[in-house]
Amino acid sequence: MADVETDPTHPEPMANEEEPLISNLDLFLFTLIAGLVIYWFMSRKKPEPIPEFKKLDTPTATSTRETSFIEKMKKTGKNIIVFYGSQTGTAEEFANRLSKDAQRYGMKGMAADPEEYDMAELSRLSEIENSLAIFCMATYGEGDPTDNAQDFYDWLQENGEEDLSGVNFTVFGLGNKTYEHYNAMGAYVDKRLEELGAKRIFDLGMGDDDSNLEDDFVSWREQFWPAVCEHFGVEALGDDSSIRQYELKEHTDLNMNKVYTGEIGRIKSFENQKPPFDAKNPFLATVTVNRKLNKAGGRHLMHLELDITGSKIRYESGDHVAVFPTNDTALVIKLGQILGVDLDSVISLNNLDEESNKKHPFPCPTSYRTALTHYLDITHPPRTNVLYELAQYASDPKDQENMRKMASSSPEGKALYQSWVLDACRNILAILEDLPSLRPPMDHLCELLPRLQARYYSIASSSKIHPNSIHICAVVVEYETKTGRLHNGVATNWLKNKTVVNNGHKSTVPMYIRKSQFRLPFKSTNPVIMVGPGTGIAPFVGFIQERGWLKEQGKEVGETVMFFGCRHKNEDFIYQEELEEAKKKEVLTNLHVAFSRDQEQKVYVQHLMRNNKEDIWRLVHSQNAHIYICGDAKNMAKDVQVAFYEIAEELGGLTRTQATDYIKKLMTKGRYSQDVWS
């Protein structure tokens, strides 16, 4: 053995010797096999630990799966059950989130797959105190239930005699507006449960996956829980009562270079401007023109021109310009005063959920002044969930009760909210003034207020003529509310005050372009019919400029017809000179203007359209004209559409249904476009 030890590299002596019997190879194989045997042995004995799972509260291990959800709820002390009809897991995820939410309100929830339980037990829910069944139902395919909800759906359809009185329920539907049977399953469950006698304690929620399902869910859920608490007379628990999402951090000695002063994205992005410019990185355009458009009258219509030289920003007529407005300074100061806060304190609001992508509700660190001026919406009436969360800070119990009531889903509550908040246009300052006992901490308020949104305006210029300038046409919003307060539109007042030179400084507007699909036809020979009363004329100013430019280029330009409307010829006939010039140059083949208040009866654009029905029909039906509507969505756009129906009926010999189809077809084929706002 000693020989072998000293001479391990010589295989021959090893091979010749009888002992030891094992070679290196044998040793290797043996140990490997032994290792495997040991591993197998070990893995049989020890169950693999599963660290991610929390210990579940299952007191008695049941060998057979419990198909009675009632029994399960009783055993585990749950009073809320969230059923989900889910195909790809979203509804299931929402159900899980809702069941977790319950504990914040002193209740216990569980999510449940309807396929795994006997849904016929629903009527037994009344056996459990303060019980509630929530349904997260996705619609699949042609208005169908998801696979796991098929049995439940069949049961609902077949059992007309079922008595579900004593069952409290609410439904959140997951759907997609691009499909014809939008949220059919959610709507059906909501309706059917009520028919069977169950009590709806909150309105059906409809989530649209085509726009933003998550947002829809979160908004619905924010109003849902206060309603539940109201219904059960339950209050949110002690520590969790404020359910703060963010934690306040006050900064004392911070380098001012690290503090946000109104930037949307990158800090100092307003000082060091770098293309490309977009929603997260707006361009500070200089205001080169800001003039009043109307000659008289109480309103203020304005025309602004923004210089985009050097920004590399390109646009086309019909696009929208987005601007980032700021709130009125006086309003911000008043808020600081009423809540007794030093507006210049530098703070951060940090998300308590470390997993979340959203670290702060708005760019932090920043001062309260900046947050209230640049980042938060302080002018719109607050939503019910804001009232609910702030209620705890009302020292007067009556105030507190009223605030919670307005956030509930009770008819009296909803009516109170409608009249006291919405109809009276009370913003947060008004609410604080009218409820003197309500004094929330500023940081919690900042967490609850929604973000200040960018505003969009249809561009009133053509890039062919004004490649470096973007024109805006807008009317300043200001009116008196029922409480006698003055309500000023945030962006329009802010724009109005963007005089060309302000205290020696040039005024700038943070902006970017949002491309639209509102476009002139590709072929200049295509006729166009434009209907744009009031500020709805904006994109058409650009269209007309462009058609004029094409003509100057020697191109053949088709008929260009404009229907405009305003109140008084001598007051608010905006762009009168430009329009009449275009008419003279035959860029505009036809200009029809309605002055609504210049005579006894109201005359609007649709009346003028009816007076020109033959021309319109000829252009639309035989000459492939493209129709464009811009302006007020609620009334004008609808009235104009009806006028088109009537023309199609009369001159096309169609029934109303056929006329409607005709116009709808034009819309699908991009020959009837709308740029309308409410």
Partner: protein, 308 residues
Amino acid sequence: MEETQGAVNGEASEYEGSVDVLSPEDLSELLAAGTKEVHEKAENTQFVKDFLRGRIRKELFKLGAVALYYTYSAMEEEIERNKEHPYFAPLYFPQELHRRDALARDLEFFYGPGWQSAISCSPATQLYVDRIRRIGREDPVLLVAHAYTRYMGDLSGGQVLKKVAQRALKLPPTGEGLEFYQFDAVHSAKGFKQLYRSRMNELELDPETKQKIVAEAVRAFQFNMEVFDELDEIGKSIPEEAMDAGLPVHGAGGDISKCPYYAAKTAAGGGTEYACQVAMAVLRHPTGQVLFAAWVAVLAGLAAWYLM
């Protein structure tokens, strides 16, 4: 009034007589009608049905993205070539529609910075690409058919696929890996499709050419279905991704050296590097660790006995 009577008494949507409302000569309508059948067929392929049900495996999704990359690269190159051509110019919307760069970013996310050498064009995709290149050079009007088939689809059902993929593959909510589905310059998919249709209808084409375009669109659908079928076949040979056992698969933004597929590719390259990676991967796995530890222990024990 006669017409009105006739219209009322006649079939619901047939407007015979003086008012031909439907304009069935419009290319947009011809395309919609002409591809209806093949569209349904495509929706009903196993691959798509599984996808919509959330049954899509990451490896197949990635290979799908690769196929899309080659397809859109070819199509968008031919579109650039023909952007002034009267038969394509009205449909030239590079900012709004073009996908090549978005796909490149998605592939970088899935395959890492060396993605360009990690991917190759599959046979079915190559056939599709060859066709696109050919018509781009020889008969550009047919490019309309391919653009219509892909882009209109992306702006419709494509949006549904995005959400399905995000959940099924647990992709980050910040959108990496799914930029293909994100049309940042299109504010309203519905509005854009309407604009696109109006532009298609502005093309001055005779009825024969329109029919050719419809036929080419059907062909485009077929090319796509062959890619789906090819993916389905590949899917059958890829082993199921086991959840607990097996080598850890690199997750979103994870360590690509842990990816068995990447490892397999690098195995072709540097041998030692591959061996090291395999060894490291084995050692990272708890089972491997136990095995190794046991083996060392026994070896030490035997060595001790042997040396005594």
